[in-house]
Amino acid sequence: MEKQATRDAYGKALVELGRKYGDVVVLDADLSKSTKTADFAKAFPERFINIGIAEQNLMGVAAGLAASGKVAFASSFAIFASGRAFEIVRNSLAYASLNVKVCATHAGLTVGEDGGSHQSVEDIAVMRSIPNICVEVPADGTSTRKAVAAIYERPGPVYLRLGRPAVPVLYNEDMDFTIGRGIELRDGRDATLIACGIMVSKCLEAADRLHEAGIEVSVIDMHTIKPIDQELIVRKARETGAILTVEEHSILGGLGGAVCEIVCQECPVPVLRMGIMDVFGQSGSPDELLQYYGLTIDKIVENVQLLRKK
């Protein structure tokens, strides 16, 4: 199976975007080789601004550029973009409703060996709590490219969450990507798996395994965490009566939290949340970490069976 890191797809998509639109500017905070904004820097050096190791200023300068008519893409690691710069994202970008796209790479555990200090397990929760911001977590390279094009077209602030390791390519170029609309990848009646980011491909594999055991599950790629696809969540809750959410993020306040907020109010059915159990990460290879923290195909299968007993 073909693999690509979503950060790699992001770097390439930025170059495409830069070629098409003169108002695109890209900012980074000394991580351009890792976030892949270096591709854009090479193609359009005059429109690339390195701010140095200063993530607060990264967001503030992006605000000034956006207030002057630019569409600013500001990149750093997720831990710094959502954490160190939180209040500037809140007050300078979201409060002022500016056209800045915060594109954060190295999200979640799969940063790997750098360890817990660099593994953002809470960025979806903190970013989606800010009014006026759109939160996107694409599952593969293709949908990342589509997401980059879509967030350029959408006025206002966006948080785009990207990963470090290569992950399976799930979509063809002709996929339909719409902000705010989840993608139904499997349609089964026994339960619904709602996932985002790198966990979508694992859910698909789990669905195949469950099918062999005679259990048919729906699988949703919920790439937009905010504004979330409420209609789809409610429909799947009604149709399948049980939901498992799966994300490379804390079980508190992320995709699982967002789904529960809708389900408990609109159509209460049992929901299980898979994610990082309110703990910090640690050093290890990405695969070892996913295994250690229970974000595996086996666990998804196990949890679906558990959920069906509820």
């Binding site: 500017v25 005059e46 429109r47 601004i49 701010i51 140095g52 200063a54 607060q56 200023n57 967001m59 503030g60 300068v61 992006a62 605000a63 000034g64 550029l65 956006a66 207030a67 002057s68 008519g69 630019k70 600013a72 209040e87 500037i88 007050n91 300078s92 409060y95 002022a96 409703s97």
Partner: protein
């Protein structure tokens, strides 16, 4: 290029007086807000809005316009007064400061008030915006200039120094930052709380052309602005020595007037002094 004439100095002095009267009136009406740091900046804003900046109240979003960022956003009354006196909106609007549903928020909101260039109030962020605006001007080969006003207490925010570094690194000679050096912050004298001194030396060390002036002397402010236009390849800082509460005898140099609105009687007294 603007010229310093007796007529120009008289005009900005007269506008500064109107701005000060507006500040007192609107804060008296609002019942809360920040008079001290608004009054200390009135002469700087008067020179910017009524002498220096190329702006058109009829066309507030014109691409080529000069831009002003009030980084010390709590001094919103001085900005609102300058904008109203310049004609961006009717002066009657000033009475709605801090009221529910009013465009005149406690701290400036660019989405609600014509002429406000940046939503500020969280200290330290405005200078970063100004750096971004100046960078955009360079990118687009526009000749507009960007002005920012910081408080001296605000210099305690680390983000300010990140922005200062970036402005010098990117050789932003289209950027001017004023420091309203009034010496007081909420908890007391800036020198006692967390001294940023020596302020001018620090700006120089960060590569900025640094001028030190009396921030209430209109001629000195104008001369500094003219000097800033001649500087090439780096930004200019104008460290303006000011008096917090300037123009209102019972407020001058008194820390308790950082964030307290005048009562009815105090408003009347202040207005009697400001004429």
């Amino acid at each position: 290029m603007r010229e310093i004439t007796e007529g120009a100095i008289q005009e900005v002095a007269q506008k500064a007086m109107l701005i000060r009267r507006d500040i007192i009136t609107m804060l008296g009406e609002a019942g809360s807000g920040h008079p001290g740091g608004s009054l200390s900046a009135a002469d700087i804003l008067s020179c910017l809005y009524f002498w220096e900046m190329q702006i058109d109240p009829q066309n507030p979003r014109k691409t080529e316009r000069d831009r002003f960022v009030l980084s010390k956003g709590h001094a919103a009354p001085v900005l609102y007064a300058a904008l109203a006196e310049k004609g961006f909106f009717p002066t009657e609007e000033l009475a709605r400061l801090r009221k529910l549903g009013s465009p005149l928020q406690g701290h400036p909101d660019m989405r609600k008030v014509p002429g406000v260039e940046a939503s500020t109030g969280s200290l330290g962020q405005g200078l970063s915006w100004a750096v971004g605006m100046a960078l955009a001007g360079k990118l687009d080969r526009q000749s507009y200039r960007v002005y920012a006003l910081l408080g001296d207490g605000e210099l305690e925010e680390g983000l300010v120094w990140e922005a200062l570094m970036a402005a010098h690194h990117y050789r932003l000679d289209n950027l001017v930052a004023f420091v309203d050096h009034n010496g007081l912050q909420i908890d007391g004298p800036v020198a006692d709380v967390m001294s940023p001194e020596p302020v001018a030396d620090k700006f120089r060390a960060f590569g900025w052309e640094t001028l030190e002036i009396d921030g209430h002397d209109h001629r000195q402010i104008m001369e500094a602005l003219i000097k800033a236009r001649t500087v090439q390849g780096r930004p200019t800082a104008i460290i303006a020595a000011t008096v917090k509460g300037k123009g209102c005898s019972f407020m001058e140099n008194r820390v308790e007037w950082h964030g307290t609105a005048p009562s009815k009687e105090q408003t009347a007294q202040a207005l009697a002094e400001l004429c």
